[in-house]
Amino acid sequence: MAKDYVKKPKVMAKEVNLYYGDFHALKGITLSMEENHVVALIGPSGCGKSTFLRCFNRMNDLIPNTKVTGLVMVDGKDINDRGMNVDQLRKNIGMVFQKPNPFPKSIFENVAYGLRVNGVSDAKFIAERVERSLVQSALWEEVKDKLKKSAFELSGGQQQRLCIARALAIEPSIVLMDEPASALDPISTAKIEELIYELKSQYTIIIVTHNMQQAGRVSDKTAFFYMGELIEYDDTKIIFTNPKNTRTQNYVTGRFG
């Protein structure tokens, strides 16, 4: 049998339009992503990159008066299909937000939360998974002696890694990150970036960032958004050294945006 040289896309968007009421926020976006890649979404504020990110786990559903057209496929399935189980979809797609938002529970319970709401009750399994997730998110050494303490006692950077652990605990195959380091100091930011690099082997990661260097450092591919349109999507190296579109070039070199 002939081997597939082009990998099947893990995530695919085709002609995606999104409206907030009358506002046309995404205009015919088409792009696809391979498994175990990190894709960075960049562009000036309000360009639609975060909105696009939220299309993949249907978080836009939570915003009233939102309408989506076009096709969004995850693992070959149309996620906007009527029969789609949204809770199941979100279990399969982890998300990390701009501002760390741990629950007002203990460190342990924060990580266990996703398992519990998805029906896992085996204490031993939960304990193992919590430990593994905290190890994966490089937080275990710092918190292993205070798992019962409130998550609010952690620093901002630790809280964000806790939120990553929380997302990893339910074994998603895709992780969405919405400016995960923008509220953090440089050291915490470096830790998060290192983490993204580590996680790449097991997860497909889509990251929204305002930080050009960050996009350059962590991603395989970069998509540049402007005013709701996808201007250019290519290998990160090309986007940052030899973009085809002048607007992309102006943005990545800091001439506007």
């Binding site: 786990n57 978080m59 939570l62 009233p64 809770d87 199941q88 979809l89 979100r90 279990k91 982890g94 998300m95 937000f97 501002k99 938002n101 741990p102 629950f103 007002p104 529970k105 939360y113 996703g114 519990r116 709401v117 998805n118 409130s150 609010f152 939120c163 929380r166 997302a167 339910i170």
Partner: protein, 293 residues
């Protein structure tokens, strides 16, 4: 010519001090009013209070004996109205804040709740008499009185619940949904535990309000003189606020009941005060447990 900076500085300082003094004075006045009222009741009421006063039936045309049946009656009414109003109020508060988007439904619910809160309590009393006492044939009873008081306090419960839920930042809900939690799971496991301290405080304050209400029980449950304890929810009871009203205005011998009246007032005030302190203690306890900071 430029104004003299030193002069401006002096003028600013002066207005600062004036306003500060005024605000301090007003706050002090409020505290003073409370202290005077409490002091007045304590000084007049304390001599009346002893073990017999709290545990005996009223005697000799309510000029002697105790107020035990009124304490029990008020307790029954508070309990009855809680059982009725809390579940309904909390559920509808959750509905309004968590399940409706900003739109006509939410606006309608809010307007209705506000209007309900604005109805004078005597009107609730009349309504309770018409519906529960006569319409549903509950008669003058604990059941009718509790339902009427429950209606009265319902808007407070709804608003308290709604405001407490509204104060919870949306990022917690979003974070929960993103992990595959359903709306119900999110409310039960994240939102409600966070809102609980505030809800409980509001509920206990509403109990304080119920225990002091007179008008709604006037035509629905309160007995003028009934020196025995209730046996079922269809019995009438005496109640502290109504008892106070009776022995102050239409007792057999108002002058000699005076001491009893102040004693009754003091007991009522102490109950409300104790509930408020309990509200604070529970709030602090749950606040620590949920670790909001």
């Amino acid at each position: 010519m430029n104004p003299d900076p030193a002069k401006i500085h002096r003028r600013k300082q002066l207005s600062q001090r004036l306003v500060f003094a005024l605000f301090t004075l007003m706050s002090a006045a409020i505290v003073l009013v409370l202290v005077v009222i409490l002091g007045f009741i304590v000084v007049r009421g304390l001599p009346a209070i002893n073990w017999g006063f709290l545990t005996k039936m009223p005697e000799n045309g309510m000029t002697e004996g105790g107020i035990f049946p009124a304490i029990v009656g008020t307790f029954c009414l508070v309990l009855g109205s809680m059982i009725f109003a809390f579940p309904i109020g909390i559920m509808s508060g959750i509905y309004v804040n968590e399940y409706t988007n900003d739109g006509p439904v939410k606006r309608f619910m809010k307007t209705m709740t506000n209007n309900l809160a604005g109805i004078p309590s005597i009107v609730f009393g009349l309504f309770g008499m018409a519906l529960f006492v006569n319409g549903l044939h509950f008669g003058d009873s604990i059941l009718a009185g509790s339902l009427t008081l429950g209606l009265l306090v319902l808007p407070v419960v709804i608003r308290t619940t709604e405001e407490s839920l509204k104060a919870i930042d949306n990022s917690f809900r979003i974070g929960s949904y993103a992990l595959g939690a359903t709306k119900l799971q999110t409310i039960r496991r994240v939102v409600l535990p966070m809102a609980l301290p505030n809800i409980i405080t509001g509920l206990i304050l509403s109990i304080g309000r119920i225990s002091g209400e007179t008008a709604p029980i006037l035509f629905t449950v309160a007995a003028y003189f009934l020196p025995k304890l209730p046996h079922s929810i269809f019995d009438q009871v005496m109640a502290l606020p109504y008892h106070l009203y009776v022995i102050s205005t239409s007792g057999t011998n108002i002058a000699s009941s005076r001491k009893m009246a102040y004693g009754t007032a003091l007991v009522l005030v102490l109950i409300v005060l104790a509930l408020n302190l309990l509200a604070n203690a529970l709030r602090r306890y749950f606040g620590k447990k949920v670790k909001m900071n």
